[in-house]
């Protein structure tokens, strides 16, 4: 179900390119000299907790905010020098819904398309196309104020696609939606990336979302990018299996474990220790033996495959502040999924 795009033959083109982009707000540095590039046709995710600077970055890239320092280019156009050309190339779905609720879904799309100068015949077919993509064709003539939260979100995504943008910016596209709707929206995002070849730049603080959707991920915290890499590489950097344990004397145990060569990385956190190892199940008895020999009582121990949570922890040294929905959506029974179609 993952939507990986392959670059066939030609060299991938950088659609978004930033160079030391910085934004200060009265002494607070919201975005701190970030430089990255996004290739054509890929889904790039910005992952970070609330207040990390994700939305500020999007606002700068979508020409709504003027950067304090640095520059960025979208589809080859400078975000300061060639704003209108940038605006023509981007579609944006904001964090808060930005629909006119007194208009119908169709009208919202129609007006949007006209602002971009689409011709009448093109508008007509395009509205049907995008509504089809998000399964809202039967709600075309319903006032948006009668839509549900998920339907509004889908309509916004459809609107972002109306004018054939080169890049679509999605700022927390599934914020505040229930598990089934989130899953459906992931499908739409994957579908439009595949069918329309739209490059997608999304921000999220949901690990599973970034994991499911993105080709590459940038982890951002306190305004700076900590790491950018593909999901697989990021997970591999943590180790094949992750053992989490808590015990009575962590410092002593960590010191002892650091001598063991089979542990690829070891990290101590406030109340627990994580170890990156191979074949984690077989290592648990070994660790317990070591602990017992040191007279340390182990309170709990578990082994699992690394998730982006571990990656985040690895690079920031702390757990995401918002992680209530982590790993819950995968278990949605299929019948729920089908009902909403």
């Amino acid at each position: 179900m993952r939507c990986k795009r392959k670059n066939r033959g030609q060299e991938p083109l950088d659609i978004i390119k930033t160079n030391n982009l910085t934004k200060n707000f009265d002494g607070l540095t919201a975005v701190d000299t970030i430089s990255f590039s996004v290739k054509k046709g890929e889904i790039f995710g910005f992952l970070g907790p609330n207040g990390a600077g994700k939305t500020t970055t999007i606002k700068m890239l979508t020409t709504l905010l003027h950067p304090t320092k640095g520059s960025a280019e979208i589809a080859g156009f400078d975000i300061i020098g060639a704003r209108d050309k940038v605006r023509r190339n981007i579609g944006v779905v904001f964090q808060e819904p930005a629909l006119d609720i007194e208009l119908t879904g169709g009208e919202n799309l129609e007006y949007h398309a006209r602002m971009y100068g689409l011709s009448r015949s093109k508008r007509k077919t395009r509205i049907d196309d995008v509504l089809n993509l998000v399964d809202l064709e039967d709600k075309k003539n319903v006032l948006v104020k009668n839509y549900s939260g998920g339907m509004k979100r889908r309509l916004e995504i459809a609107r972002g696609l109306m004018h054939y943008p080169t890049v679509l910016f999605l700022d927390e596209p599934t914020l505040g939606l229930d598990a089934q709707t989130r899953r459906a929206i992931w499908d739409y995002i994957g579908k439009m990336n595949k069918e329309e070849g739209t490059t997608i730049f999304l921000t999220t603080h949901y690990m599973d979302e970034a994991d499911f959707l993105c080709d590459r991920i940038g982890i951002i915290d306190h305004g700076s990018i900590l790491v950018i890499d593909s999901v697989t590489n990021l997970k591999n950097s943590v180790g094949n299996d992750v053992i989490t344990l808590s015990c009575s004397d962590m410092v002593k145990l960590v010191k002892k474990l650091e001598e063991e060569s089979w542990i690829s990385n070891i990290e101590q956190h406030d109340s627990f220790v994580t170890l990156g190892v191979e074949k984690g199940e077989e290592k648990i008895p070994v660790i317990i033996e070591i602990a017992q020999s040191l007279n340390i009582r182990i309170k709990s121990i578990s082994v699992r495959k690394p998730t982006l949570d571990d990656v985040f922890l690895h690079f920031t040294g702390r757990i995401m502040r918002d992680q209530e929905a982590t790993n819950t959506t995968r278990s949605v029974p299929p019948r729920f999924h089908d009902r909403r179609r």
């Binding site: 023509r88 629909l99 006119d100 007194e102 602002m115 609107r159």
Partner: protein, 127 residues
């Protein structure tokens, strides 16, 4: 100016118009209120004589028109703030349309409406 700018002005106007027509209370109040002033107040004071005023109704009418324009301008301003509050303004601002056209488009609704209204008053009061 490019044609897309005219499109944008028209769209902003059309949107305001649609919203205006759809919210019945606003539509009714903006028509009824000036008429209420004009006819109730106007006919009530008609019998009174003021120095230098021949016909009270034609004395009152310009004031009511000015008041209606004042209120509607305030409404326009507030509706921009509403849009900002609900995030719709952001969506308009990322479109490749100049800020100038957006403002023009937003304000023309009331220009049209009250030009029409002034004409109506003119017909009834200054024949």
């Amino acid at each position: 100016m490019k044609s897309v700018e005219f499109q944008a002005i028209y769209i902003m106007w059309l949107r305001q118009m649609k919203r205006f027509v759809r919210s019945k209370s606003r539509l009714v109040s903006s028509i009824v209120q000036p008429l209420f002033f004009l006819f109730i107040l106007g006919s009530g004071f008609r019998v009174a004589t003021f120095a230098g005023v021949d016909d009270y109704l034609s004395f009152l009418a310009p004031g009511i028109i000015a008041m209606a324009i004042l209120f509607s301008s305030m409404f326009t301003g507030i509706s921009v703030l509403w849009d900002k509050q609900f995030g719709f303004l952001q969506e308009v601002l990322v479109t490749p349309v100049s800020r100038f056209s957006i403002i023009i488009g937003r304000t023309t609704l009331y220009h049209c409406f009250y030009l029409y209204f002034a004409q109506l008053f003119d017909d009834t009061c200054y024949k």
